[in-house]
Point group: C2
Chain length 430, copies 2
Amino acid sequence: MKIYHYPDANILERLCRRPQIGRETLLVTVRGIMEEVRQEGDAALIRLTERYDRAVIDTVLYPEAEIAAAAAFVPEMLKKDIRRAADNIRRFHAAQEGGETNIETEPGVRCWREARPIEKVGLYIPGGSAPLFSSVLMLAIPAFLAGCEEIVLCSPPRRDGTLDPLILWTAAECGVRRICRIGGAQAVAAMAYGTGSVPAVFKIFGPGNQYLTAAKQLASMEGVAIDMPAGPSEVLIIADQSADPAFLAADLLSQAEHGPDSQVLLLSNDKDLSEKVLEQVRIQSAGLPRADIVKESLGYAAIVILKDIEACMDFSNRYAPEHLILQTREAKKLSRSVRNAGSVFIGPYTPESAGDYASGTNHTLPTSGFARSYGGVCLDSFRKWITFQNITESGLAGIGPSVERMAEAEGLQAHKNAVTLRLKHSARKK
Amino acid sequence: MKIYHYPDANILERLCRRPQIGRETLLVTVRGIMEEVRQEGDAALIRLTERYDRAVIDTVLYPEAEIAAAAAFVPEMLKKDIRRAADNIRRFHAAQEGGETNIETEPGVRCWREARPIEKVGLYIPGGSAPLFSSVLMLAIPAFLAGCEEIVLCSPPRRDGTLDPLILWTAAECGVRRICRIGGAQAVAAMAYGTGSVPAVFKIFGPGNQYLTAAKQLASMEGVAIDMPAGPSEVLIIADQSADPAFLAADLLSQAEHGPDSQVLLLSNDKDLSEKVLEQVRIQSAGLPRADIVKESLGYAAIVILKDIEACMDFSNRYAPEHLILQTREAKKLSRSVRNAGSVFIGPYTPESAGDYASGTNHTLPTSGFARSYGGVCLDSFRKWITFQNITESGLAGIGPSVERMAEAEGLQAHKNAVTLRLKHSARKK
């Protein structure tokens, strides 16, 4: 880890930057993959899965009997844990109901809005070294709560063409029936265009590597909505003298193990903290199974000492971290100054892991500074608000003349006429 | 207008399609413009404004004195109308406050969310034949309500380098101070990258032509959020025998005058309606100043007769119109079946014009079928929700073991350790 004591503005500016990816060549590759799927459907999916996942699959859609069989491979205790997490996630997202906003803006002019589910959604669960069943919870639970009718889940198969039983069981437990064993840009293309096995959806969710993100962005240019662009995972910790260096090190390491490109920052006003934390990082990283990943990502990680906690929060708001951990004496109070962050963890007994799995908040969060403009996945990510209005005859008599004059001033005579005609019609009746 | 009586599924499918734009060449042009702005800033803006808007401007930023002077050119009655519309829009959007969702998901595990403004936003107001001051209201009012700190407005200048006084006065009335006389892809680039005069923003709002939309989409691939992709404006009307053909014709025409590519559809279960509406369209379109535009867009417009109102609503939900007008006997009841639409106008005295200008709902709405996944601009378009959590020591003792087992099952040992370490620390204290 790099240590910066009271760095100048240039260094702070540099620390705010995220790794850039050579995107142009990436886009060409991804566009090619997507075009194959558009033209050839399932046949392309099976071919691309062999090419990129080195797995031979005969069907894209996972057979129902095999999904049901997965239950036998999940320990009962873990099932209880997952159900407990699911309950908390369901509770927190269900509490986001409401917001209908029904008001009379003027006498006889009633305006309101109603939420409607996005009818067809696609959930992407990355593959790789670990079966990320927690992401299934984070996407499927709000999708069902919102009332989405068609929910399709895609995840890349292992070499033997199967998905991990933990993914299968969790998906089935959440109610997902349509599980497809495909990954990467080809999965995004399948959900964007539709194939024989995969229905076309209106919005695609879920994290992934740079290929997946590029595919989602290309899909979004062609009319399919996406949750948000995803980059490498990030944590920023603000700590003062009251923080336990062992806790801080544990939180830094848990972020660092995500991937070699994980972004890990610790900010403090306590110049003696860095040595203590480094010492703890050394001790705790010893036995980690993902030590290589941790080592690589910690190579880019930094401990930054600034003059006070306010300066730390200023930097954090500029950086806009995906995860923000506050381990300061008055963490709750400090949290009010947060302007840009995905999810905030307050106090010594609130590790990020709790929110990653089980506390109830969503772990699908904006990275790469997108927390400046995006929130994480929530109930509203799976629905949209439609506005409605109903104006009475006398209501239009009130507001109509203003509409007529405004339409005329914009040079839109037919807009004016639509009101004029009605007002005249009312007058004639009297 | 084309008339379809009981068309088959193929024709309905075709009617659902929106015009496609030759995008590849468009993207190359737009990328070139944006790159000029990125590299040369204000100098490129001034050059591009001369090239595309044929206007010579010496400053990008509109001088404050000239903004103030605009008030003299706006009739007092129109000022009152605009203020009335602003009040209604403010009322409807302010009613969208709330949604904090503060709950304890388990004992000692508190999760909540708080909205924060997007700090810097850019509002784009198209130029062209009419001064669209109503769009200023629709974007600036929720931006201020949300608490955005930096609000920059861009609009292309007229040939003489000025903006219409109606745009200037409305913007100033809403509180916008930073007004830039630039348009098109160069305006989007300026707001995305920042120049000497234009601050870089985190989210860009506002409608525009295909160049503007392409620029917004390119910006969104580079890390700037956008409200939504914008296509040609649309209306779909569902009417039965109870509807007044004159009202229907007026509403069709008010959509048709937007632009030659406006999408205009009337659906009905009453086969005698089409002739009556066509007759009214002929009568009413006679005196319209934008008759050429109307004629061209009505060339693509259609009246579609289906077997019943349910079939009309089914089509509408597949089409997902920007504006949906319901002029049926039980329009309010019918509105409950709306699944996909931007904004819905219920009953004979609720013309779309009312919502376009003054009733209170927003007129920045999803087009091109995006209403399947997007809602229109609302208060939340200018803020994001941040989740927070605080777990007590005993709360972690409760939920911690579940988190440990889930993290271990995903192969993320450091995630587990972040909990284990804390639980051990608690145990030692006792």
